[in-house]
C-alpha cells in the first residue's frame, strides 16, 4: 500500500514535469504569469519526487520484501545505513537516485534564480524535459516498484560483502551529484542559445553551479579510488576500467569548463567555446550513463545487461545533445567575437590547455569505444590496458602544466613578456629542472615520464610559491583560490609520479613463527587467530614488524581472510600501515599444503598524497565560488 503511494507520487511528478515543460514552450512571447506558473509547477514536481524517494527509503528500512528490487538487494540483517545504501547498489534504485539528484539541483536552481531572469522559464523548461525523460525511463524500463506476487519472501538476498563499506556506500551519491550538477550549465546555456540574446551574462550564473558540481564529482571519484585501494587488495588506486574512464571524461571536460568560464567572463573571445564545453560536460555524463547501464561494455561496475534500456538512453541523450548542438550551430556566427586571441595572453595559454584537455577526453573515449568498434569490424575481442592511457595522459599532463605556469604571470587580452632573466617563470623552470635532475641523479635508474612528472609538479608548486612571496612583499594581486587548487594539482602530479616510480611489491612464503627481512623492515609472522563473526569466519594473521633503522620502531599488522556464509564468498582484508610518505600494505594469499602462506607485501609511496591533493583542489574550488567573478 505504502509502495503504491510512493509510486503514485512519482507518476504524478512526471506529469507535473511534462506540464512545466509544455508551459515553458508557451512563454516564448514574454508572459509573466505563465513564467511564474512554470516555476511553481516545477517545484511541485520536484517535491513529489523527494516525497516519493523518502517513502522508498522508509520502505527499504522497513525491509518491505514485497518490492522485488528491495528483496533482491537488501536483507533483514543489514544495518540501517546499508539498507539505505542498498537502494543505489543496482540499476533501478541508482537511476531513481540520479533522478532525485536531478530534481534537487534543478529545484535549488529554480529557487535561487530570480524570477526576473530572462532565461528562467526556458531553462526550467529544459530541466523539466530532462527529468521527465529520465522518469519515463525509470517507470517504463526499470521500475523500482515491481512487486513479488502473491507472497513476499521472508528475507532478502545478501549483498556482496565487499560492497558493504562506508566509502562505497557514499561514493555513488557524490559521483551522481557531480555528474548531474552540470545539468544546470547545460540547461541554462541551451536556453541562452534558444533566446539568442547576447547581452545575457550566463557565465556569472552558471559558474558557481559548475564549481560545486566539479567539487562533488572530484570527491566522488576520490572516494571510489580510495575504496578500491583498501578493499580490493591490489594496492592500486586507478585501474583504467571503462567505468572509471567514463567518470574521468566529464571530470576533464568539467575542469576545462570551470577554467573557460573564468576566461570568457573576462574576455569575449572564448564565449563560443565555453558554451560548447558546457554542453559537452553534461553530454559526457549522459554518455557515461548509457555506457554503464546498457551493459555494452564489460566492466566490474557494469549493471545487468538490457538492450532496451540502452536504446532508450541512447535515443533520449541523442535528442538532448543534437537539439542543443543545433541551436549552437545556429547561434555560432553571432557568438564568434571579432577579436582574435592575442598570442602570449592569458587566454591564449588557456585555449592551448583547452585543446590538450579535449585531446585527453578524445583519447579516453577512444580507449573505451575501441574494443567495441574492433569487435564489430574484425569480430575479435580485444581490451585496452593501462599502458595506452599512461602513454597518452602523461605527456598531456606535462604540457598542460607548462602552459599553466606560463599563464600564471600573463595578462588578459594582452601579450605579456614572460621570459627575462630574473622573471619568476625562468626561476621556477630552473629550480624545477634542478630538483628533477637531483632526484634523477639520486635514483640512477628511472624512466623519462617519472622525471617529467616530478618536473611539472615542482614547476607548478614553485611558480605559485614565488607568486605568494611576490604578493606578500609587493602587495600584488593574488588569486588565492586558483593558487590553492593548482598547488593541489602540483602535489597530485608529484604523488602520482612517485607512486608509479617507486612503489614495489614482494611476494613471500612464510609460516607462523618465521620472519622475513628486507632492507627496511623485519616482518615476524607471530600466529593466526580464528574469529567467528555473525556473518563470516575469519582467519587473521598477526605480524610484528620492526623498522630496521636506528629508531627500531615496532608495530603490528593484521591482514585477514574472510569467508562469508551466505554466498560462500572469500575476501581478503589487507592490512595497511600508514606512514607520512608511504603505506605498507600486506595481503594474505593462499595457504599451501606444507603450512606456508603466500603473502604479498607492498610499499606504496605517496599514495595518501594523491587523495590529499584532491581534497586541496576541492578546497581551492570552494574558495573560488565565494570569489566574485569580475565582469569585463
Amino acid at each position: 500500500m505504502i509502495a503504491e503511494i510512493s509510486h503514485f507520487f512519482l507518476v504524478t511528478a512526471s506529469g507535473l514535469f511534462l506540464l512545466s515543460f509544455i508551459f515553458s514552450t508557451l512563454t516564448y512571447k514574454t508572459n509573466h504569469n505563465l513564467e511564474i506558473l512554470v516555476s511553481r509547477v516545477f517545484s511541485y514536481g520536484s517535491y513529489f519526487v523527494f516525497i516519493s524517494f523518502f517513502i522508498y527509503i522508509w520502505l527499504s528500512i522497513q525491509s518491505d520484501f514485497s518490492i522485488r528490487y528491495i528483496a533482491e538487494h537488501s536483507n533483514k540483517d543489514l544495518a540501517v545505513f546499508y539498507k539505505i545504501s542498498s537502494i543505489w547498489s543496482a540499476h533501478e534504485g541508482s537511476m531513481f537516485l540520479w533522478i532525485v539528484f536531478l530534481s534537487l539541483w534543478s529545484q535549488f536552481f529554480n529557487f535561487k534564480l530570480p524570477q526576473a531572469d530572462l532565461l528562467k522559464a526556458p531553462s526550467i523548461g529544459i530541466l523539466s524535459f530532462i527529468i521527465f525523460g529520465f522518469l519515463i525511463f525509470l517507470l517504463f524500463t526499470s521500475n523500482p516498484y515491481d512487486l513479488i506476487l502473491p507472497i513476499a519472501p521472508v528475507n532478502g538476498a545478501d549483498i556482496n560483502p565487499i560492497l558493504q563499506d562506508p566509502a562505497l556506500a557514499i561514493h555513488p551519491p557524490f559521483l551522481y551529484l557531480g555528474y548531474v550538477g552540470f545539468v544546470i550549465a547545460f540547461a541554462y546555456n541551451t536556453a541562452f542559445l534558444i533566446k539568442g540574446d547576447l547581452d545575457i551574462n550566463w557565465e556569472k550564473i552558471i559558474r558557481p553551479w559548475s564549481l560545486i558540481a566539479w567539487i562533488l564529482l572530484t570527491i566522488g571519484i576520490t572516494l571510489g579510488s580510495w575504496w578500491a585501494y583498501y578493499e580490493l587488495g591490489w594496492g592500486g588506486y586507478w585501474f583504467w576500467d571503462p567505468v572509471e574512464n567514463v567518470a574521468l571524461m566529464p571530470w576533464l571536460a568539467g575542469t576545462a569548463l570551470i577554467h573557460s568560464l573564468y576566461a570568457s567572463s573576462r574576455s569575449n573571445s572564448l564565449r563560443g567555446w565555453t558554451i560548447l564545453l558546457s554542453i559537452s560536460v553534461f553530454s559526457l555524463s549522459l554518455f557515461g550513463a548509457f555506457i554503464v547501464r546498457s551493459g555494452i561494455i564489460d566492466s566490474v561496475h557494469a549493471f545487468a545487461n538490457d538492450p532496451q534500456r540502452g536504446l532508450y538512453l541512447l535515443l533520449f541523450s541523442g535528442i538532448l545533445i543534437i537539439s542543443s548542438l543545433t541551436f549552437y550551430a545556429l547561434r555560432l556566427p553571432k557568438l564568434v567575437s571579432s577579436n582574435l586571441i592575442k598570442p602570449k595572453s592569458k587566454e591564449s595559454f588557456l585555449s592551448i590547455n583547452n585543446i590538450l584537455f579535449v585531446t585527453a577526453i578524445f583519447a579516453v573515449m577512444l580507449g573505451v569505444l575501441y574494443p567495441l568498434i574492433f569487435d564489430f569490424i574484425y569480430e575479435e575481442r580485444i581490451s585496452i590496458g593501462p599502458p595506452y592511457y599512461n602513454t597518452i595522459i602523461a605527456p598531456i599532463a606535462f604540457l598542460s602544466s607548462i602552459f599553466l605556469v606560463f599563464s600564471v604571470g600573463s595578462l588578459w587580452q594582452r601579450s605579456s613578456k614572460l621570459f627575462f632573466i630574473y622573471s619568476p617563470l625562468s626561476l621556477s623552470i630552473l629550480l624545477s629542472i634542478f630538483i628533477a635532475c637531483f632526484i634523477a641523479f639520486k635514483l640512477q635508474d628511472f624512466e623519462w615520464w617519472f622525471i617529467g612528472g616530478i618536473f611539472s609538479g615542482f614547476l607548478i608548486l614553485i611558480r605559485y610559491l614565488l607568486l605568494a612571496i611576490n604578493n606578500i612583499s609587493k602587495k600584488m594581486y593574488f588569486n588565492k583560490a586558483s593558487a590553492i587548487s593548482h598547488v593541489g594539482l602540483g602535489i597530485l602530479l608529484i604523488s602520482i609520479s612517485i607512486n608509479a616510480g617507486l612503489s614495489y611489491e614482494k611476494i613471500i612464503n612464510i609460516k607462523a613463527g618465521d620472519s622475513f627481512q628486507d632492507d627496511m623492515y623485519t616482518f615476524n609472522l607471530l600466529d593466526f587467530d580464528l574469529i567467528n563473526e555473525d556473518n563470516f569466519d575469519s582467519i587473521k594473521a598477526k605480524f610484528l614488524i620492526k623498522n630496521n633503522d636506528a629508531s627500531e620502531q615496532v608495530f603490528y599488522m593484521f591482514p585477514e581472510k574472510r569467508k562469508y556464509f551466505i554466498r560462500g564468498q572469500i575476501t581478503s582484508e589487507s592490512a595497511i600501515q600508514i606512514t607520512p610518505f608511504k603505506d605498507i600494505y600486506i595481503t594474505l594469499g593462499d595457504q599451501l599444503d606444507n603450512g606456508y602462506w603466500v603473502v604479498n607485501i607492498q610499499y606504496n609511496y605517496f599514495i595518501r598524497w594523491i587523495w590529499i591533493s584532491a581534497i586541496i583542489m576541492c578546497l581551492g574550488s570552494l574558495m573560488a565560488i565565494k570569489e566574485r567573478s569580475v565582469k569585463k
Binding site: 566490474v300 582574435l340 578524445f362 583519447a363 590496458g385 602513454t391 611476494i507
Partner: protein, 135 residues
C-alpha cells in the same frame, strides 16, 4: 579585416596540423597496446608472436592447480582444449577450480607466462567466448 582573416586562417591551419599529429600519436599508442582475447582453442590455432601480451579466458580446469611456493601452475580450459598457465604471485580470492578466469601474459611453448590473473567479481561469470560457444 584582411589581416584578421589571414591570421584566422593560419590559426585554423595550425590547429588542424597539431590535432592530426595528436590523433596520429593516439592511434599509434592504441595500436601498440591492444590486448587480444583468446580462448584456449584459439590460442592453439592462432600464430601469436612471442613478445605479444594476450588475454586467455576460460575455466580453471578441475584438479589442475599446483602450488609451489609463490608459484602457481594451472590449466585454463574451454572444455575442448587446455592451456597451461604459470604465474608467480597472489592469486585473486575468487580464483577457484571450475570457475571463470582470465590470465594475461605472453605465450612460451604453448604455455602462458602470466603477469596477471583476473577472476570476476561474480560467481556466475562466464568468459564471453565460451558463453557463446556453449549457449
Amino acid at each position: 579585416m584582411n589581416k584578421i582573416r589571414k591570421q584566422r586562417l593560419f590559426n585554423v591551419f595550425l590547429i588542424i596540423c597539431v590535432s592530426s599529429l595528436g590523433v596520429f600519436f593516439i592511434l599509434k599508442a592504441l595500436n601498440s597496446n591492444l590486448d587480444y582475447f583468446y580462448t584456449p582453442s584459439e590460442v592453439l590455432i592462432a600464430n601469436i608472436p612471442q613478445d605479444k601480451r594476450i588475454k586467455i579466458g576460460g575455466m580453471v580446469k578441475k584438479d589442475s592447480v599446483d602450488r609451489n611456493g609463490t608459484k602457481v601452475i594451472f590449466k585454463i580450459t574451454d572444455f575442448e582444449n587446455t592451456i597451461e598457465v604459470h604465474y608467480e604471485g597472489v592469486i585473486p580470492d575468487l580464483f577457484k577450480e571450475g570457475s571463470g578466469v582470465v590470465a594475461y601474459g605472453k605465450i612460451r611453448d604453448k604455455t602462458l607466462i602470466a603477469e596477471n590473473i583476473f577472476a570476476k567479481h561474480d560467481e556466475n561469470y562466464m568468459p564471453p567466448n565460451i558463453e557463446i560457444s556453449s549457449g
